[in-house]
Amino acid sequence: MASARLSPTANLLRKSRLFALPKTLNGPKDQTSRESGTATLPHPIRASIVTPQSSLARGDWGLKRPLPAKSTSEKSSRPVVRLHALDTYEHVTDFESAADHTVTLEKFQEMHMPMSLPSKVNYATSVVPRHQSPFETHLDNTETSQGLQEPGAKQFRHTGPWLAGQTEAEFAAYLKQVTRNKPELLKKLREQFVAKRSAEIRKLAQDNGEDLEAHPATVTDAEFNVYIKTLRNDPFALGPVVFDLLDLASPPAVPSERIGRKYYQSPGTKLSSFEYAVSGPPKTHPSAGLSYTRSHALIHNHAQFGPQAHQRPVEARILRPKGRFKGRMARALAGIGGIAVEDLNAMTFVEQGTPPGLTFFDASIPGGGKYWVTPIRASIDSDGRIGLSSYRASATAKAPYGIEDHHKPSTLTISDVATAPSPLVPRLDRQSFGQPRFQPSTENRPRRQPTRGTEDVARSLLNNLNSRS
């Protein structure tokens, strides 16, 4: 009906694909990821654009002007771009490759991981927290969901802000907004009070065996003012009412010895995961759309050996070995499918069979340090980052696929010379005095023989004298 009133141009433009591109999201707040301007953001904030092959060959992406082949079709076989500006003052379309996020998504989907709700993985106890899918009906709720009425239902979003994560200025602005809405809030509070009062009356009538509809709950202004006054005098009672009225996410639990005798008590958290209660509600849906499978109960079939308990291990690149980093002991960091992951097993003190490069940096490994891991759990934290945890792949997981961690050649091997039947040992440290550091040529020089007794000593002495003169 609204579209009928629009002009045909407006109607078409509103439906066009270019205008349907979603708005840019706010970038991640923390500054650690902004240290580098070229670093990949923890989560995408712009839509990725692809184009069919026939149009790609002409550079046609449906944008203001064709994109240059040099940075699209000549750079990649499946270019994906993200758009910064359709046109700028310099007459260029500002775009960059979006392969960093799209390829990471593809790699993640190849791992066949379901998304879980975040939970602290404690590596010391080698007990993996239970997988809990964010798609369960009692957890997958927003503030408007129907399922929120069910007893024990949790939600992953509140309408109110997360007070613990607000700055001073943000909190002041929020206070001002709440003060402006005071009449509506009081009206809402009164409705809640009426509902509470009627429930009490019904309960009383039920207990006394009277007619339930006989006494309708009526609240006078005086009664309501008394109710407000009692709430104000009792912080323990006021706290839950305020959180409910403003639909705020409960703050994390504070140890009771740290706070005074009287404090505004907060109700138990309604967020779907304890991690979200600690670090704030998630920015996205807790699955972030990365995977829609609910469980990890898949059986991976091997063509030759049949069903396997573990899926095919994934190769992880060692980004940072274990050790001191910025003044504190840190676990090893590994990159699994484009996602940085802390190595779990690196906490145990006795390490045997650790892949090379994990405990200290090793430049001798060809292609850099890598090892095989089995991803076990993936979740989205409240900043929208992927939290992946993994174990080192066990020998049984690796065996069917014939894959092995890199083995350094052992330093304890006995050299060929020692095993040779001849008792002669070449003198490697001997270098004549005036001899240049590079060998001129081995052809016209007499081949130096290994030292053997006094004759050889004399011969080498002669050689030295000859070369000096």
Binding site: S7, P8, T9, A10, L12, L13, S16, L18, F19, P52, S54, S55, R58, G59, D60, G62, L63, K64, R65, P66, A85, L86, D87, T88, Y89, H91
Partner: protein, 363 residues
């Protein structure tokens, strides 16, 4: 005139092939009775379908038993190996199933806009939207004279109104068609990279001329020097060349176009300026940063997208094609929509208006 010649051709080709067949293979075929190599492509044709092929014509011409080629011809119809037999037995079923399934009726082919450009009557807002003609330049780049073509601002760029573009494009197409119908010379100029094919195609449709490289400054204002050596010809109303008048063209000034279509006016300011000096009407694709007063008939549109400019060039080319067709049809009926020049006038000196070499010349 044409028809008999074509029929003759149709008859002559099979004969020639038969002759070649006999020349090449008859001697060997007679010597050894081996089966001729059968190309599998012949097998794929339906035996039921009465197609006039080479084999059937041979069979009809030559009586069966005496023919040494009979065996070879017959071999192509018999399935010899089990695989071939199976293939031919499945053929009816395969042809039955061919009718099943879906066919994709309209799919987007980017080449279509150059190979088969749409007619001016087919202009639709959807077509223009798909080509991206609505995307203007950054708002900081705008020319305020274009404000009447602009629909609004989105994501920092001006959006050109699609229906304004369509209206101006239709008007420009009409201009091109009428100029072509009156026998005018039309010049298509698109000097950006990638516009070459569209410009050439449009010019060939409209029987006009094209520039896809640099416009040499002065080609209009100083045409004697720059284009003086170029060839000109005299044609009649049916576009047939009249070589008898060749000598009369010697003293004539270089030709000037009657309409110039410019796909990128920003780079061709000199061309448009010269057109203005010489009273040549111009049609130009005007983006939001271009000056619309540079051209006579602006088409407000995105001039950076190749798809958009190819579409506009194609539509104008089609319009020219329609105008030329109309003109030639009228000429065949003996009418013209312009006052034709007489042979007498053509022979006169262009500067003096006198008969060359006559008494007038001496004065």
């Amino acid at each position: 005139m044409n028809l008999p010649a074509r029929q003759h051709l149709q008859f002559s080709i099979p004969k020639m092939i038969i002759r070649k067949l006999c020349m090449r293979q008859s001697r060997q075929l007679l010597a050894l009775s081996r089966r001729a190599p059968v190309s599998s492509r012949f097998q794929s044709t339906l035996p039921e379908t009465p197609v006039e092929t080479l084999q059937t014509s041979i069979r009809d011409e030559i009586p069966r038993p005496e023919n040494p080629l009979f065996e070879m011809v017959q071999a192509q119809h018999e399935a010899s190996t089990p695989v071939q037999q199976e293939f031919t037995s499945d053929e009816p079923q395969r042809s039955n199933f061919k009718k099943l399934g879906t066919t994709v009726k309209s799919s987007y082919d980017p080449e279509d806009v150059i190979r088969n450009p749409p007619k001016p009557s087919q202009i639709s807002l959807e077509m223009l939207l798909a080509a991206g003609t609505h995307l203007g330049h950054s708002t900081s780049r705008w020319n305020p004279q274009n404000s009447r073509y602009i629909f609004g601002i989105r994501e920092g760029v001006h959006i050109i109104s699609l229906d304004v573009t369509a209206a101006h494009l239709r008007r420009a197409a009409k201009v091109v068609e009428e100029v072509a119908a009156r026998g005018g010379l039309i010049l298509f100029a698109g000097t950006r990279k990638g516009q070459k094919r569209a410009v050439v195609k449009a010019a060939s449709l409209a029987k006009g001329y094209h520039i896809f490289e640099r416009w040499i400054p002065g080609s209009l204002t100083n045409g004697e020097q720059i284009l003086g050596h170029c060839e000109t010809k005299v044609v009649n109303a049916l576009d047939e060349e009249l070589p008898n008048f060749k000598s009369d063209l010697a003293d004539r000034p270089s030709l000037k176009p009657d309409l110039v279509i410019c796909l990128n006016p920003l780079e061709n300011v000199v061309l448009l300026h010269e057109c203005g000096l010489n009273n040549v009407p111009t049609i130009g694709v005007i983006d939001t940063d271009a000056d619309p007063t540079r051209v006579t008939y602006p088409i407000p549109s995105n001039d950076d997208s190749l798809r958009a400019t190819c579409l506009i060039a194609g539509i104008l080319g089609r319009a020219g094609e329609a105008g030329q067709a109309r003109r030639l049809k009228m000429a065949q009926e003996g009418r013209t929509s312009y006052t034709p020049i007489t042979a007498q006038e053509l022979r006169l000196d262009p500067f003096t208006g006198m008969v060359p070499g006559g008494e007038g010349q001496k004065k």
